[in-house]
Point group: C3
Chain length 432, copies 3
Amino acid sequence: MEAMFTVNNLWILVATCLVFIMHLGFASLEAGFVQRKNVVNILFKNSMIISIGLLTYFFIGYNLMYPGDDYAGGFIGAFGVMDWAAGAIPEVDGVVQYAAAAEGGATYTGYADFIFQAMFAATCATIVSGAVAERVKLVPFLIFATLFVAISYPITGMWHWGGGWLSEMGFYDFAGSTLVHAAGGFAALAAVILLGARRGKYRADGTVTAIPGHSMPLAAIGVFLLWFGWYGFNGGSVLSADANGVSLVFVTTSLAAAAGGVAAFFMGYILFKSYDLSMVLNGILGGLVGITAGADLMSGGEAILIGMIAGIIIPLSIVFFDKTLRLDDPVGATSVHGVCGIWGTLAVGIFGASAGMGQLVTQLIGTLSVGLFSFATSFALFSILKATMGIRVDEEEEIRGLDLGEHDMHAYSLTKEDGVFQLTDSGSTVVR
Amino acid sequence: MEAMFTVNNLWILVATCLVFIMHLGFASLEAGFVQRKNVVNILFKNSMIISIGLLTYFFIGYNLMYPGDDYAGGFIGAFGVMDWAAGAIPEVDGVVQYAAAAEGGATYTGYADFIFQAMFAATCATIVSGAVAERVKLVPFLIFATLFVAISYPITGMWHWGGGWLSEMGFYDFAGSTLVHAAGGFAALAAVILLGARRGKYRADGTVTAIPGHSMPLAAIGVFLLWFGWYGFNGGSVLSADANGVSLVFVTTSLAAAAGGVAAFFMGYILFKSYDLSMVLNGILGGLVGITAGADLMSGGEAILIGMIAGIIIPLSIVFFDKTLRLDDPVGATSVHGVCGIWGTLAVGIFGASAGMGQLVTQLIGTLSVGLFSFATSFALFSILKATMGIRVDEEEEIRGLDLGEHDMHAYSLTKEDGVFQLTDSGSTVVR
Amino acid sequence: MEAMFTVNNLWILVATCLVFIMHLGFASLEAGFVQRKNVVNILFKNSMIISIGLLTYFFIGYNLMYPGDDYAGGFIGAFGVMDWAAGAIPEVDGVVQYAAAAEGGATYTGYADFIFQAMFAATCATIVSGAVAERVKLVPFLIFATLFVAISYPITGMWHWGGGWLSEMGFYDFAGSTLVHAAGGFAALAAVILLGARRGKYRADGTVTAIPGHSMPLAAIGVFLLWFGWYGFNGGSVLSADANGVSLVFVTTSLAAAAGGVAAFFMGYILFKSYDLSMVLNGILGGLVGITAGADLMSGGEAILIGMIAGIIIPLSIVFFDKTLRLDDPVGATSVHGVCGIWGTLAVGIFGASAGMGQLVTQLIGTLSVGLFSFATSFALFSILKATMGIRVDEEEEIRGLDLGEHDMHAYSLTKEDGVFQLTDSGSTVVR
């Protein structure tokens, strides 16, 4: 009893570490995909998002998302600070009551539950930060992120994981293709629409300018770290260290990511006649987002199919948003998280143990409901911020870069060495 | 019995991995905060420190720090190589005697204990390496690091964790706000005083020149990896996988880090009227150092308060050392590890389960004793090295950079590509 | 029973995550050691190798390597897709039959076994990718990697770990000094011989040009991540969470890595009269490769000796291949993985619990057999590819860089900021 409880709890905590490092993954990926002049801004946003996310989840999000049985079938949870007393397994005469906890259905402590879920919450806002990069004003964005993580994410999260109406309806989203990724992706879409494209991206003559990221190594580091962290994101969502469950999830997660990468490689070549690293990296992420809703339900072959389809979707979706809709999303967050999030959610109705037309319809209702709610909340929040504080930096700042405009610093400072050549950024004082 | 022992032992080993990766965190952070011309030197130092640290802890540090019950209440431990025979749980007829081990109070093997503690030891010297960056001579520094890790850290560590006099006195330092961080921070302070400031830092007219780090992405990667590793640093210090204990430590550690980041954001804005990424990153670290002494004793609100205060201290302390005392510490190690280490130690007497005036006084005695001993040892070692080998590179080498001077190589080599532009570092042969 | 099974299985999965991150380690290390114009190519190759590796291991590699008892003592395994049904521990009436599994000798699920082994397989091809960097054509290399991971690696792997003829003979290779590292290193050697050196490396007058890597921070990040991942590589190879076994492996792995770094520091200084970061980094890797065959058999002192000797071998071997044999291996893979792989395998016959002349001869037979088979397969595959598609990019592409030639993109794009200075790569459109 004690040993099982301890190993289950330990896995949730190790998974928490892994989900935490996804925040470095996002920070690296987004930093790599933006221009050199906006890198500090991305790093600043992502450092703040994880910090704000953890604090707001403590003060409001956790109870809003997991309000307990009284709220079963409902639309909104409870308000209140995390109940610290309920975090630990009770002790009687210094002996921890594992048996009592297990009887109540717990496989890990309330503290572990809180911190694992808190790491998820912050992810959702991070997805948005990539899409709005290179032109959003810092403070309005942080206000948005705070409100989105504190209120919108826990409300839609409660619908399924908190025992709300989607849960009663039979909706299935194992680790959050919809609840985390589509929620984030649709919030990003609203933000991108209201913000407008980066200056120079869409020209008057109809041409679309590619604005390459400043560092592919950073982007690749980001994707590998995200993949690494996804083992905690999906594996921890088993909510125990159950040997069959977690092992299966590791296999399906790995195979879907791999299939996403390989499919995006071929699709990228077919579309662009080149071996496009960005596509492969986003294909891997698409495969990961795609398997997330049903990682515990699929066979190996199904996981590969889901990943492959995600990898095919990625380049098509990115081109569709970028060229057809002319929506400027520097990191492809709407495609990776929004579109593949929907795909993964629907895949639960098509493949695996739960497949069936009824399930497919439920999945569609669920993913669209969450997507629309996130979109609407995000649209409303950004509209208010736009009307009051403004959400976009001015033209001069966008040209000079947000690093100088918002932070008065450079991401890199290249200095003269040994008299050969001097490349000095203004603002930085070079000692010679 | 067997299962509990195995899961407890496993957590110590996983925590060991996490503490190991903090060495990459330090290496990245310090490399990011120095100038481009001194990056190889930082990476070299940090690669050597972890290597030297592990070996010396095997040969001398472990027994000096954990000498066993005979040394209870003492000031110095035993000399000798780690006792290999005592590392494993004994077997009888091929059956491992978990019951006997548990009876003896063990929750994990002696090997696991050694390697977990060895990872801590090397941390302490790494803290110094950031503070002395950009002007210290390599070989004298490595000699210092060897002696400091081999002798000074285990002596002060023994005072509390090894059952020495501070332990008997009731001093409390859960995971090392004092024993690791303040010890490292005060050693750094001694080194900075003896070394002097980087050339050009403090000008004759009284002005202070900011010398910006060369790569904010590296610095941010460093801080996220340190936060990641801190889950092992604090979580492993529970010394078992106890569900309540480790879960609580994860929550307090997370909240303190987050609060440190947010507080430093506001404080940085108040002081400098800009959104200063370095301050937020150091605020996160300050929060982590601050919670370390009492991570197992605090409630969520207390953890947030401790982190917040650390986040407020950081910019004030950095300005105080840099502008008022005119002590040049390129990465802010004295503030992050020294000052916040003291703060975290004192916080145990102010907040949480052990709060009280008596405890506060004990905490003050403990942190000052360790700080002063570390300062004195470090001052003595560096003074001897200064008088014999010299501890500072000559002026020409400092200007050219330590990468060329000490290592004859560049951290980066930018080469002409496709005829557009050529930026070649001297020394590197570019093939065209 | 349930708890032991769960904790054993959990460790295999956590170790899987750690081995996964080694792929980021290899990607970073290799990217750091190549020139700036070939970085995207390296990242692309390594992203594809992990993806291809996982998929082929699912479809063919796993059964080829672990064909079951019927193939005991054999030379080649079975063909077929991983048997999904055998992945999970069977349930009877919803109760998982841990007891039955344990009776059958299992300490973890078949899924966990598959995914842990799959991560190993991809490693082997990654070792080659560094050695062929900066001049190999992308598609032929990916074809090679696919066939090598799908067929050659599982065949030689089966000889020992799959119960084949080397296993019957008493050959010992705990975690793969031979089966993974020497296999990869000798495949790399064949590739290097057939490919030829990079243009400008060996001049007509006999001089050898050093071509420095473009980013030492990336290289150092790579080595630290590899060391981090090695705890899973070696620790997971215990194939359970056995407290004595895994703890011992952590200690020997750590001490050997540290000793490798320190020995390479001294040896590098003796040979080159400078403090060579590349040598220290490769010395650490050499120590890790060296301890891998016998990480569970050695004492601390023996681990240090094995690591030290590996650290001494590294600079000698690199110079021997580079200067004497004039074989151009940009990252030193043949020395680190090939030569130290042999050394580690032989060390099992010299040091530790299994030492003895008989064992040494067996070790020699085993390592040479695997090395030669890998070399031969790799030589044959590359020869066929050379005769049909060609394996080397043309001269113009090599000069311009593979990033532009194969991928039409740059790894970095430096743009004008604030009017100070403009460094723009051709091909990238800079928005102003």
